[in-house]
C-alpha cells in the first residue's frame, strides 16, 4: 500500500514509483547530516553529466536531489543513513532516496536535515520544496513501506 504522509504533497502525476528494471545505477550511502548533502548533489550531477545532461539540467538536478534528501532526511534527524540510488537510461535519470535509522549518530554540531528553526514555518518550507520539485523534474513522489519513506523523481533530458 502506498501512503503519502503529507496531505499538501502533490505528486506530479499518478505514476507509480519507478523500478530499476535492470538499468545500471550508482548508489550512495552517507550519514544523514546537513554537511553531507553536498555529496548527493555532486554524485547526482556527475552521473547525469556522463549521461549527457546539459549545464542547466545539471543545476536542476542538483537542486532536485537536495530537496529529495531533505524530504526523507527529516525522518532520521537524530541520526541515521541516507541511501541514494541514481539510474540513467539514454534520455532520463531517476533518483530514489530513503532513510534508515541507526548506524550514524548525529552527535556533533552539524545542523540536522529539515527546516531551519527561526526560518519560515515547516509547512511553508515544505510547500517551497514541493514547488521546486514540481518545476524541475518530470515526475516525483513518495511511497511508504515498512515504516520507511522512499522519495523519488524522474527527469528527462531535453532533446
Amino acid at each position: 500500500m502506498t501512503v503519502f504522509p503529507f496531505p499538501q504533497w502533490r505528486r506530479s502525476d499518478d505514476e507509480p514509483m519507478p523500478t530499476l528494471e535492470g538499468n545500471e545505477s550508482v548508489e550512495l550511502r552517507f550519514p544523514a547530516r546537513a554537511d553531507r548533502l553536498v555529496l548527493a548533489r555532486l554524485v547526482t550531477a556527475s552521473v547525469a553529466a556522463a549521461a549527457g545532461f546539459d549545464v542547466a539540467e545539471l543545476d536542476d538536478l542538483r537542486l532536485a536531489v537536495d530537496e529529495l534528501c531533505l524530504a526523507v532526511g527529516e525522518e532520521v534527524a537524530g541520526g541515521g543513513t541516507l541511501w541514494l540510488r541514481i539510474a540513467t537510461t539514454g534520455s532520463e535519470v531517476t533518483v530514489w532516496c530513503f532513510a534508515e535509522h541507526g548506524e550514524y549518530d548525529d552527535n556533533d554540531d552539524a545542523p540536522t536535515l529539515g527546516p531551519v528553526p527561526g526560518g519560515a514555518p515547516p509547512s511553508v518550507t515544505a510547500e517551497l520544496s514541493e514547488r521546486i520539485l514540481d518545476a524541475l523534474v518530470d515526475s516525483h513522489g513518495r511511497s511508504r513501506d515498512h515504516g520507511t519513506t522512499t522519495a523519488w523523481f524522474r527527469k528527462r533530458r531535453q532533446p
Partner: protein, 113 residues
C-alpha cells in the same frame, strides 16, 4: 563546484547589506539566519541581502529568507534581495517568491528602494 560559503555585512547609506557567497543549503542556512536575526535585533528593520555571489540555494535557504522578511516587516521595514544569476533567479520564480520579495539586480538599486 564552489562550496565556499561566506556572509559579510557592510552598511550602505545606513542600510545593512548582507552579502552572501557560495552554497546556501541546510548546512549553511543557519549561519545566514543568525546574521540576519542579529541585524534585526540591533534595530535594523530594513535589510538588503546580496545574493550575487550565491551558487546554490535550496528550500531551507528560502525558508530562512522568508522568516527574515517577516521579522523585518513586523518591525516596519523590509528585506530586499539582490540577484541576477539565472539559476538563483529561477528558484525565486518557480516558487513564486519573486512576487513576495522586492528584488533588484544591483545593490545600489536595492538600497535606494
Amino acid at each position: 563546484v564552489d562550496q565556499v560559503f561566506e556572509v559579510n555585512v557592510a552598511p550602505h547609506h545606513g542600510i545593512p547589506v548582507v552579502s552572501v557567497a557560495g552554497e546556501v543549503d541546510v548546512a549553511t542556512a543557519p549561519t545566514l539566519r543568525d546574521r540576519l536575526q542579529a541585524q534585526v535585533a540591533q534595530g535594523h528593520s530594513t535589510l538588503v541581502v546580496d545574493l550575487i555571489g550565491v551558487t546554490f540555494l535550496d528550500s531551507t535557504a528560502l525558508g530562512v529568507l522568508v522568516g527574515a522578511l517577516k521579522r523585518c516587516r513586523d518591525a516596519g521595514g523590509d528585506l530586499r534581495l539582490v540577484a541576477r544569476e539565472p539559476r538563483v533567479l529561477k528558484v525565486f520564480e518557480i516558487t513564486g517568491l519573486n512576487e513576495v520579495f522586492t528584488m533588484s539586480d544591483t545593490v545600489e538599486k536595492a538600497v535606494l528602494g
